[in-house]
Subunit: 758 residues, 2 copies
């Protein structure tokens, strides 16, 4: 991506200026006159005339492309054999008509490229015939009968899905454009495409004129069809939003997000606002993945048809940077970290990421690491970018995509907190200190999840939804998403007085963000991130410092977690660890109740059963468990007044919408200032085949806080062999160059920078 | 294995006679005089002098052998570099001294074969040095300090592990026999091997003189060292048990099994008793796997040193048949079905099965299907049989090991019930109607578990134990094994009046077995097994007929389950379905309690929480769930008085020893005769990557009992397209040739055999 970074800034500024000036002109008429638009060659969006020729010339010698082509051909031939079905819209997601129209958009897009690549008219005819059926139906189609959406579509229950349809179908239309007669094109454009584009935009500004992933789809849909139709009005509307649209700034969508609080709209605003300069998308990777497709295909189309816009350079090349960020937001298996509302299991194997990787490769700096991901994906786009990837692989240019520790700032200018990922060997920590994340944000400041080799060690619950599974609330968000998944107690962070951060209110949460204290990954063995949050609970300051430490005296890198809380009044702090698997051992005696009751009545606590309780017996609370053949231990500095609770999700869940998963929770009552210090070790393994348990015990003998002042927190870690290490973090001065001297037990420790470890 | 079946019977009988006559002679002195024993060539047990030459000649050209050799060499070289450790015994399983001595036996055995194959003295020296350290320690070693075992060992807490040690170490001794001087051999035999063999046999007859997997290890250990030492007393004791040992016939072992109720003992009795003629091992596959190694290595040694015994022909070749049975008792991933006490995850990748597959290949009929399993195992024994497998693979003889529907009779004569496995496409049903299964048996007559492609759909809980994980009860059986895992309610079968089969008493259960009614797998699309149980609840007869049906109108084969109960008095019947995953939908309204309480106070019920309850609303109870991306539906013929309970395991589990897993339970109260009829469908799929839900609904519109008499039960299955199929099972006449005529709703159905389906 560095090519973009170092482009001559003057060019960039001039383009930006063009875009801004266009934006200003567009109040009364299309800003781009027809003469400004490139000659109307087809196809031109994602597959170009030149690309088609190159693809045809290489066919049979580019294995990954050839295999993808073969599979897609088989799939589409089977669809064609089944015949065309264009049912009257009726269902929510997961229902028949929804699924059918969704499949149709996919089939149309694929049939279009097959026509171009294979030059077989049967595909063009199929696309034409189906489009004509849509034309016939659409011209008299009322709004979709299902009423739940804030922006009902026509083919689907929400404009969002109508937009999905148009983004794909524009590509199909582009592919058969020259196959159709002028009259046929006229018919389709007049009765289907233009009214379709108008419906999802000017007729639904509350959907279209926002900064939101929904709107991105809408913008791209309008822009894509505009590019094919050579319609500058539509292209303009796509880039800059609806001219003069006035929206209620206090209105909210179905997810509780503001419709359009600050009046920004259009594709460029949708790039500008949600992406940070690092390419982090404010809603999190799950929604970025969803939004990525329209961002990229429209950008690609725009790049091909209007290269003078240099869209891939926009905001210092943020679109391509965002793909790198997104790939870094995956675990070892390629699954996205389920920050905010994210369905677990979504991964870079999803087709949107095939698009992302291929486009990033072709239009970026030909990063050979992307080829290794393309290989894992085992398919490419059947277009110009897919060809580029296939040729790269064929020419042996593949290199591993190395994911390292990375800090991704959040916010349009990168100043609204962020997300850090610390990696060492198979251990990955995902630490969230970001902004609210729009309507899909959770109330979990300074929360984290921990992975080993792609397996969750301490989980983020993700969303409470079964996407597209009709039996579960129509496949939409379940009420438990609000009552459980978004609540603070559902996350590995501190809940104060059994109340969520920002009172669990979007209006408050969306005003604030945490602040990075420091991030350090220079030392190969010690990666540290530290961030603070002062607004989640007014009057309470939280500073969390998390380090992944590779110490030669330990089998695997461990997580050191220091959560320093300073408050103006006494509170109760709950500090959960959402582990998986089987309890192995504890160094405290616990009681298990005869009957299970809910731990509380609100803010997520109503969904937790109390399965056991204890008091610490030692200065350290030690707890071990076994999950999927691996051992884990938590060692936590204990306060004799602490309570230790065993909880399980599932109370007050009358539809069995929640997963019955466990946590160990530390509870510290009636406390103003305090510091939670813990270490999570992954260690050893167990195989049910060999039945041998290797290194099944924690290696930590003692964890101790030796200093805890406003300026410094210092802890010692003593292992079972008696070797002691000292970690000191600077709580105030985050300068990399600061010189520190600290006396602990008559020894002076002197160092430069944010932390000390030895 | 057919080679054994068709051997001239006379030869077999004469051998058997020899063995029997030996047995009779052995009351006062060794029956096999030294002169009868083959010349004392070494090595001769599992690797022979001729085998070594052949291996050396082929090295470098037999990939799977070469790779195994390389790995083993690397492993042993690393061990040798670490030095020898022979600690004073101290710990239970999972503890340091236990693990160390276990590793030593493995290292010794491997170092022995490396010496033979590589002809490098360093391995022989290592074996010798370690044996000398054992000799030094053993000669004054007291009984192991841990007292929990009914038969304490010396190196380990139980004689069983001492026997494991000797089985392996005998092989090591055999390999370096000729490397040692006569004095060295004399020292080892006098101070280590002979007292060791005596300790685990004559000094612990309660361990040695039984029919039990423990004793098999003991017998093999004594026999193996006897073969190396050319000691006919020991060989004799191995084959026939301890002469004149008198044991308390009412004594029990730690697992609650009788020590020696009927006085049988010795290796041959251990083949005779637990194996059915089909090769089913009475304790189930998990323990068969464990016992397999000593059975086979001692048999192999005996075959090599005393080929005249024709041990592999004994009991019509049952040892090799049992391997075929064992491989058939695995799911699609090679995991053993966890019948009785079985730890999940144990599979044919375990080293004992490498032994089994290799020996079965060499000494059986060179089944090319075994080569495909050897390939999956990706290693072979470094001996004559491993060479045979490696050569078979090298020569391209591999064929798939096709697991089909199979019925395995239980009992020494195959007359004590059995286990059936029905397979069609990816669906596997394991139906258990066996005898008690010795001390490791569960009280679960006519129970089943269901698999799809190696994933559990409806589970058998398995055991309540974490084998070798010291933190969990020393790695031994947990108390919940008795209070939960063995109880009837923990299984997918009927519990009457909240009491387990046979009152959960081993004394009663071990007297009885279920009876096969019929098994039919001739029809490619319909596989059926039917069995009855009259003794689990005196006065109550249960006949369960289970069919896996591949019907063109359904996506996948489904399970039809007909449980017919006839009782002399009114009872409560509980009928659970232990499913996994997330509840999707139900056609009945259920209530979920605010607090969770135990469902009962004993017989396993004390471990179940009641999570919900309902009454059927229709003639059919329908319940769907989602697990690991697949949909499942239960359709059950409902009685309006039925109760439907949602349960979860975990109540009264103060150490978190149990997995928190769910069941749906049908409860029918105050009923004498009744029939539970259900269908379990696997259907569709869901991918979190594509987020598309395919075929997520049951295809069954109605399931109906149309006839239910003493003679016949008939059910109709109507699918969503309105197509109806009729299944009739004959409840009395199990003849394959019987002609039946049955009038149902004025239509006459006529068929030959046990069931009708159309």
């Amino acid at each position: 991506m560095s090519i973009f970074k170092y482009r001559v800034q003057a060019i960039f500024i001039s383009i930006l200026f063009t875009l801004i000036s266009c934006s200003k002109e567009k109040t009364s008429s299309p800003t781009l006159s027809s003469s400004e638009i490139s000659n109307n060659q087809h196809p031109s969006l994602i597959i170009t005339k030149a690309g088609v020729e190159k693809i045809r010339a290489n066919l049979g010698s580019i294995p990954i492309f050839d295999e993808t082509l073969e599979k897609v051909k088989a799939e589409i031939d089977a669809e064609i054999a089944l015949g065309i079905e264009v049912p009257i819209p009726k269902d929510y997601s997961g229902g028949y008509t929804h699924s059918r129209h969704k499949r149709n958009w996919q089939t149309l897009q694929k049939a279009g490229v097959l026509y171009q690549i294979l030059d077989d008219e049967k595909y063009a005819k199929y696309v034409k015939d189906m489009l004509m059926e849509y034309e016939e139906m659409y011209k008299t189609l009322p709004v979709h009968p299902k009423t739940r959406s804030y922006a009902r579509g026509k083919l689907f229950w929400q404009c969002l899905n109508d937009s999905n349809w148009l983004v794909y179908v524009s590509q199909a239309y582009d592919c058969i454009y020259n196959y159709l007669s002028k009259e046929e094109r006229n018919k389709l454009e007049t009765n289907l495409f233009r009214p379709f584009a108008d419906y999802i935009s000017v007729e639904n500004p509350q959907f279209y004129n926002r900064v939101h992933n929904h709107s991105t789809w809408g913008n791209a849909a309008v822009g894509m069809i505009g590019l094919v139709m050579n319609d500058s009005v539509l292209i303009d509307r796509a880039l800059f939003g609806i001219k003069g649209a006035e929206l209620d700034k206090t209105a909210k969508d179905n997810d509780g997000g503001f419709i359009n609080k600050d009046g920004k709209a259009g594709f460029l605003a949708n790039i500008e606002e949600p992406f940070s300069p690092d390419g982090y998308y404010n809603e999190g990777p799950y929604y970025q993945r969803y939004a990525m497709y329209p961002f990229l295909v429209f950008a690609e189309g725009l790049n091909n048809v209007k290269p003078e816009y240099k869209i891939f350079d926009y905001k210092e090349g943020v679109l391509l940077k965002s793909i790198n960020a997104l790939l870094n937001l995956t675990d070892a298996d390629g699954d996205f970290f389920p920050l905010n509302d994210g369905q677990k299991g979504m991964s870079y194997y999803t087709s949107a990421l095939v698009t992302a990787v291929d486009i990033s490769y072709k239009y970026g700096n030909k990063d050979p690491g992307l080829l290794s991901i393309a290989k894992e994906q085992n398919r490419v786009l059947l277009d110009d970018s897919g060809l580029a990837v296939a040729l790269g692989i064929k020419n042996g240019e593949t290199k591993p995509f190395n994911k390292k520790s990375i800090n991704l700032a959040d916010g349009p200018k990168g100043t609204q907190g962020g997300v850090s990922i610390l990696r060492n060997e198979d251990i990955e920590l995902v630490f969230k200190y970001a902004a609210q994340g729009s309507s899909h944000g959770h109330y979990d400041k300074l929360s984290y999840s921990l992975y080993e080799k792609g397996e969750e060690v301490l989980q983020d619950y993700g969303l409470a939804r079964f996407v597209n599974i009709e039996q579960k609330g129509g496949g939409n968000y379940l009420k438990e998403n609000k009552t459980w998944a978004k609540q603070t107690i559902a996350h590995n962070t501190v809940t104060q007085n059994e109340t969520s951060h920002f009172e669990g209110k979007y209006e408050i949460g969306s005003k604030h963000h945490s602040i990075l204290h420091y991030f350090s990954s220079e030392n190969e063995n010690v990666h540290v991130v530290s961030a603070k949050e002062d607004n989640a609970y007014p009057g309470t300051e939280m500073l969390r410092t998390m380090a992944i430490i590779k110490d030669e005296d330990f089998e695997k890198p461990y997580l050191l977690d220091i959560m320093k809380i300073t408050s103006s009044k006494a509170n109760q702090y709950d500090f959960p660890f959402y582990f998986f698997g089987q309890v192995l051992a504890a160094n405290f005696e616990y009681n298990t109740p005869k009957t299970l009751k809910a731990l509380g009545s609100k803010n997520g606590y109503q969904h937790l059963y109390l399965e056991g309780s204890a008091k610490p017996k030692n200065n350290n609370t030690k707890f071990s468990w076994l999950n999927k053949g691996k051992f884990y231990s938590l060692t936590s500095v204990a306060n004799t007044n602490d309570e230790i609770l065993f909880t399980r999700i599932g109370a007050n869940d009358p539809d069995f919408n929640l997963r019955r998963e466990a946590a160990l929770m530390l509870r510290r009552k009636n406390t103003k200032n305090t510091t939670f210090v813990s270490i999570i070790e992954a260690h050893g393994n167990y195989s049910p085949v060999t039945e041998s348990a290797v290194n099944s015990n924690s290696s930590i003998k003692e964890l101790k806080v030796v200093i805890d002042t406003i300026d410094y927190t210092a802890v010692t870690i003593t292992n079972e062999d008696g070797k002691t290490k000292l970690f000191i973090t600077s709580n105030i001065n985050a300068s990399k160059d600061a010189e520190h001297i600290l006396k602990i037990n008559d020894t002076n420790y002197q160092w430069t920078g944010t932390y000390y470890f030895k």
